[in-house]
Amino acid sequence: MNKLQSTWISTLLLTSLLSCGEKAPAPDAVGTDSKSGAKSAAKTPASQSPSPAAVPAPAGKQSITVWWFQWAPADGLAELGREFEAETQIAVKVEQIPLSSYQEKVFLEFGGSKTSFDVVIGDSQWIGRGASKGLYLELTQWLPTVVDLASIHPRAARYLCEYPEGSGKWFAAPCETDAVGMAYRKDWFEDAAEKAAFQKKYGRELRVPDTWEEFLQVATFFQRPADKRFGCAIPSDRAYDGLTMGFQNVLWAFGGTWHAENSNKVVGHLDTQGTIDAVEFYRQIVNLGPRGAERLDYGQVLEAFTNGSTAMLLNYFAFFPGIHKQFGNKVGFAVVPAHKGKRVASLGGQGFSISTKVPASQQELAKKFIAWFLQRKVQEKWITKPAGFTANAQILASPEFRALTPYNGPFADSIDSMRDFWNVPCFNELLSVTQRYVGMAVDGELPAREALQLLAEEKERILAEAGLL
């Protein structure tokens, strides 16, 4: 019995000795055919087929598959897709994936030799990874031929489409811009009895909070668990990025930061008083929600609000059409609160990226659809769809856009104060540790200062490993 065991173990040891000495050859295995990032991105269209026409026409109808996560804008995109199909006979299939597992599913697909989507509407922070690992097709040459780049809102271009930020290298075409905003129960805020009680308790008028301090006060006022009424519901989930995206609105307003202004240095920037105050504040407002509110994903935030038990919520504007539809005039929308005059909204939104791991013929079809979508007349249709938040700066600034829905106005006001999480290629690791350590502080497992110190060290380690420090 021991003979085989020992041969087995010694074989293991032998292999390990052999493999650490030499450099591993071609990365043929993980991510089968992508030899090196940028090269394959540039090479694919040329090497796989000389021209789209040379590819034999598929037996069935032509179609492209678009992946996006599950929310109202994706329904609107599917509707536009049907118009595109009517014009061009190219079908557009929009598949909606729950956000909490979207990242894993997309990158698992990218790990294979082909992806089941032709176009992925990738989250803003993915762009660095997609661009530098050769997963997204570079669009720098092509995009200006179909759209005037100057018409794209600069923040959308910077955070959603370019990598590195502001470099003029495009890996995505703008699709949806978005930011975190606030929704509140107008009927509760306007209720005479509530107003009187608030006045009596705090000596000021009950109104929609404009600062985080007012937000805390109002949420405390409405927090009445015995009556099954709660102050606020805010993103706090640990699965993907919920907690981080919710927390950022407080973080930047309180003068905290993820990293140094002009470098990726973290220690000495993240673990400072502003960030510590922000974490402690976020912890307070998380606890002014329903029981279990320290684990609400975007859907559960909506649910806590739409079941009629919560006074205010923070969430992405693009989730608001459903709320408006359900509550009508009983609900109002606003920009996120400020702190000492500083107001920053977490950026959301996504761009269209074309997979490098599909045939060139499919990439051409995808380009056709994106070019069609970016036309001014289609963009004007896009804004009439639920939460069709265009990236076209002129349309965003127009009074027509503001007048379309009650939440378009606050959204247009938010767009100039948007900021985003890191979009470096190792964003996913940075996000994991952020969710983990900020989460521990919010749950009270670690004091805020200690959690942030650990987080800062972890982040520097990750960045150093990725060669970004």
Partner: protein, 287 residues
């Protein structure tokens, strides 16, 4: 003593079946009633009157809605059940056939290094699946098996083989060799002797082995989730993939689906109940 015994049985049975009862009740509710902040546990035929009512309107809609395709999935529950059935039965059949053949080989032939091989076969059962998932993923990408029924069935076959070999060896060792030898003296070939004499004796053992293989293939989640993003998604991976859904988890359908999903396993287990114990103890107890 007798009273104590009854108390233990009744007490545990009550506590252990409560979650099942709750699942049964949830499977005949509307979604609102499953997440109501006022527990609703009395099924009734009409809608409840007040907010505080413990009653809820019983409905079979969740079972009907199993045909609904939720966001994040390409198929309804039934489509995924079909994947589960295909993969589960294919892998079970393969594991039982291969495992029995292998067990017969080790049981009846003197093969060099027999003990070493048997140790090796058993040791594979201890491998945490997540520890080998990456190499398997790479292998599958190369062979284009990712996201296919065949790919998962093959993998489950392999994971069940060690159990199948050891269970079947326990059963086969108990069948006296004299039976086959007598048959061969009567002019049967070894194959004929196997089919006519050994197989009928081993049938119950094979059934027990099949149940164990089926349970583990049926409920497997780790590989089902990581090797398949879209094709051949089994039921556990399908339900787990609904997390984060902005319409909220469809609890009534999950409860209904879980009950439908466990039914075949319960049925099989009841069929082989008498022989189950022997299988569970690797034949160390003779009954």
């Amino acid at each position: 003593m007798k009273l104590l015994r009854w108390l233990v049985i009744a007490g545990y049975l009550f506590v252990a079946t409560l979650p099942l009862v709750w699942m049964g009740l949830s499977s005949i509710k509307q979604r609102d009633a499953t997440i109501s902040a006022n527990a609703r546990f009395v099924p009734s035929l009409s809608a409840p009157v007040g907010e505080d009512s413990a009653r809820f309107e019983a409905t079979l809609d969740p079972y009907r809605q199993l045909a609904h395709v939720h966001a994040g999935a390409r198929q309804s529950f039934w489509g995924h059940l079909k994947s589960s059935v295909t993969i589960g039965f294919l892998s079970t059949a393969a594991a039982v056939v291969l495992g029995s053949a292998c067990a017969y080989g080790f049981s009846r032939f003197r093969l060099a290094g027999k003990q070493d091989w048997l140790f090796f076969i058993l040791s594979t059962r201890f491998m945490p699946p997540l520890a080998v998932v990456v190499p398997v993923l790479i292998m599958y990408r190369r062979m284009d098996l990712q996201g296919t029924h065949l790919g998962l069935a093959l993998l489950y076959t392999v994971f069940n083989l060690s159990m199948a070999v050891w269970l079947m060896k326990g059963f086969l060792d108990e069948i006296p060799r004299a039976f086959e030898e007598a048959a061969m003296v009567d002019g049967y070939s070894r194959a004929q002797a196997f089919v006519r004499v050994v197989l009928p004796e081993a049938a119950t053992g094979m059934a027990v082995t099949a149940v164990f293989c089926l349970i583990s293939a049926w409920n497997e989640y780790g590989f089902a989730m990581t090797l398949n993003s879209s094709g051949a998604v089994t039921v556990p991976a399908y339900f787990a993939g609904l997390q984060g859904n902005i319409e909220g988890m469809p609890w009534p359908q999950i409860a209904a689906g879980a009950l439908v999903f466990v039914a075949p396993i319960v049925a099989f287990t009841v069929l082989v109940r008498k022989n189950l114990l022997r299988g569970m103890t690797f034949g160390t107890i003779k009954q």
